[in-house]
C-alpha cells in the first residue's frame, strides 16, 4: 500500500431500495488523515452511505473502496472501525466484558484498560450495560471502535446522548488521533461540531454531494456575510442600492446588511456615513446547511458541485 491510496473512494455510487433512491450518484474521495464531516438532513443518504463503507450493504451500482480495497476486508483486518447509531449493546454484559469480547476478535487489539480509559469509562467498567447511561453506552461504542486502532474511523452521530463535557472529551480524543494520521469521517447533526472539528465538510442532499469544502468555503457558498453597524436614521435606500446587497434591516439604532460583497458595504459605511461599531459576520454553518439542503428552490441545483 502506498501513501496515495485514498482512505475512502466512492465513485458513481447509487443505492436503491425498491423505488427509493437513497444514494444517487455519490462521488467522494477522502485522503488519509482528513477529518471529514458528513452533513445532510434526515433521509439524505448518510447512513446508507456509511453502511456501504462498512460493507454492511452493497451499492446498487458504482464503486466503494475503503483503504484501496473491499470494505469487508478492511473491517476483517480492523483497518476500519465505526461507531454506529444502530449498533446495539447487550444489556447483560458489563461494560468491561463487552470490550473484552470485542477485543478477543481483533489481531492485534489495543489493551482493554487503555480503550476504557481513553473513552472515559474506566471508572464504570464493571457496571452492567443495562445500568449505564446513554452517554456511557455511546462511550462504550467508541471504546469498541478504538480496539483495532483503525486507520479509518467512521462515526454516525457519535456524541448522541453525551453531555457537554463528554462531547468535549470525545472530540479531543478524536482530534488527537487525527493528528497522528487517523482518517475520520463523521455524520452529525450538531453543526457546531462539524464547524469546530472537521477539516472538511461534505453536504449531501437526496443522495448526492451538494457542497464539499472547508467550513468557511461551505458557509461562503450559502452566499455572503452580514454587516451590522450602529447608525441612527440609516439611509436604507442608499445601502440597498450598493452592489451585491441582498437585504437591509433596521433594528432600532442598528442596521444589518446582508451582502455578497461585505467589504464594499463596510467601506461605504465607514467612509461615507456616520455609522459606528461595525461588525462583519459570516453566515453560520446552520444558515448554509439550510440554504444548501432545503428542498424546492430551483437555483439549488445550480450550486451542486460548485466546490465538489
Amino acid at each position: 500500500m502506498n501513501d496515495t491510496t485514498p482512505a475512502v473512494r466512492l465513485a458513481g455510487v447509487t443505492k436503491t431500495f425498491g423505488s427509493v433512491r437513497a444514494v444517487d450518484g455519490l462521488d467522494l474521495t477522502i485522503e488519509p488523515g482528513e477529518v471529514v464531516a458528513f452533513l445532510g438532513p434526515n433521509g439524505a443518504g448518510k447512513t446508507t452511505t456509511v453502511d456501504m463503507l462498512l460493507g454492511l450493504s452493497r451499492p446498487t451500482s458504482g464503486t466503494v473502496e475503503v483503504l484501496g480495497g473491499d470494505p469487508r476486508h478492511a473491517v476483517a483486518l480492523g483497518r476500519v472501525a465505526a461507531v454506529m447509531q444502530t449498533g446495539g449493546l447487550l444489556k447483560d454484559f458489563t461494560i468491561r466484558e463487552t470490550v473484552e469480547l470485542t477485543a478477543s476478535l481483533f489481531r492485534p487489539s489495543r489493551p482493554v484498560d487503555e480503550v476504557l480509559d481513553r473513552a472515559g469509562i474506566a471508572d464504570v467498567a464493571d457496571r452492567m450495560v443495562a445500568k449505564a447511561s446513554g452517554g456511557q453506552q455511546q462511550r462504550l461504542r467508541f471504546a469498541l471502535a478504538l480496539l483495532p486502532d483503525p486507520d479509518l474511523l467512521i462515526l454516525d452521530e457519535p456524541t448522541t446522548g453525551m453531555d457537554v463535557q463528554g462531547r468535549r472529551d470525545f472530540w479531543s480524543a478524536i482530534r488527537a488521533d487525527a493528528d497522528r494520521g487517523r482518517t475520520t469521517l463523521f455524520a452529525t447533526h450538531y453543526l457546531e461540531e462539524a464547524d469546530a472539528y472537521a477539516d472538511r465538510i461534505v453536504l449531501v442532499r437526496h443522495g448526492r454531494v451538494v457542497a464539499d469544502g472547508t467550513a468557511a468555503q461551505v458557509k461562503a457558498m450559502a452566499a455572503g456575510r452580514s454587516v451590522r453597524a450602529t447608525w441612527r436614521g440609516a439611509d436604507t435606500r442608499a445601502l440597498a442600492s450598493l452592489e451585491g446587497v441582498d437585504s437591509v434591516d433596521v433594528r432600532g439604532d442598528s442596521v444589518v446588511v446582508h451582502a455578497k460583497d461585505s467589504d464594499g458595504v463596510a467601506r461605504f459605511l465607514l467612509t461615507q456615513t456616520p455609522a459606528t461599531d461595525l461588525e462583519i459576520t459570516s453566515r453560520n454553518l446552520e444558515d448554509a446547511f439550510v440554504a444548501l439542503t432545503a428542498d424546492a428552490p430551483a437555483d439549488t441545483r445550480d450550486r451542486e458541485g460548485v466546490l465538489a
Binding site: L54, G87, G88, E97, S104, L105, F106, R107, P108, D151
Partner: protein
Amino acid sequence: MSTTTGTATGTVVPTERRVPPLGGFSTTLVGLELRRLLRNRRAVIFTLVMPSVFFLLFGTDGDYKDQASGAGNLTARIMVSMAVYGAMIATTSGGAMVATERAVGWSRQLRLTPLNPVAYIAVKALVAMTMGLAAVVAVFVVGSLAGAQLPLWRLVVCGLLAWVCSLVFAAFGLFMGYLLPSENVMQILGPGLAILSFAGGLFVPLTEFSHVFATLAKLTPAYGVGELARAPFGGEHDLALAALNVVAWGLVFVLGAAWRMSRDTQRV
C-alpha cells in the same frame, strides 16, 4: 499489509494486522457468553431447576420407585424423560439467544468485527450444548438422590444420548431465533416446548394415548430424542424410527436456520 501503532511512550511499533484464527471462535468468547447466560435468572430457573421440580412432582411416587422398567425402575425412566425435557429447554434457549441479539442490534455491532458468521453460530451451539449438559446432569443428580435406579453405565449412556440428541433443539432454537425477531422469544418457545414434550411422550408415555394420537406423536420432534435417550433401559423401542425422527427434524431445523441466517446476513 502493515500499519503503525503509536504507543503511550511515543515509540512506533509496526504491527501486522491479521484475521483472528478460527474466524474469531475462542474460549474467551464462549466463557463470556456462558457467564451472560448464567446471569439470566429466568433461563437458569427454567433449565436447571424446573425439570428437576417436574421430576420430583411426577416421578417420585412410592409405587414408581418399586415398579421395574426395563433395566431400572420407573422413577429412573421418568428422570431420563425429564432430563430430555431440560436439555430441550436449555439448548433451545441457547440457540434462541440470537433473537435477542438481533432485536437489540448486537449482531450488527458484531458485523463491525472480524467474527465469522460460522464461528458465531459455533459459539452459540457450544453455549447451548453446555447448558444442555448442565440441565441433564442437574436432573440426574436430583434423580439419583430421589430414588432413581439404573446401572451406572446405562445411566451414563442415557445421559449422553439425551444430551447429544438435544443438538436438534439447539438448531431449533437458532431457527426460531432467526425467524422470530423478538427479545422475549422464550416466552413463545417455552409453552411450545411444553406442548412438544407432551406430544413426544416425555410427560406421559405414548401407551396412554389413543392409537391415532400415538401415531401422530411419533412424528413430533421430541419423540425421537426421548425414545433414543430411554433406549438403554432395554425392552421394546422402535430405534430405527426414533433415529429417523431425530435426523429428519435435525435436518429441517439446520436447513431452516441456515436459510434464515443467510437472508439475515444479506440484509444486515
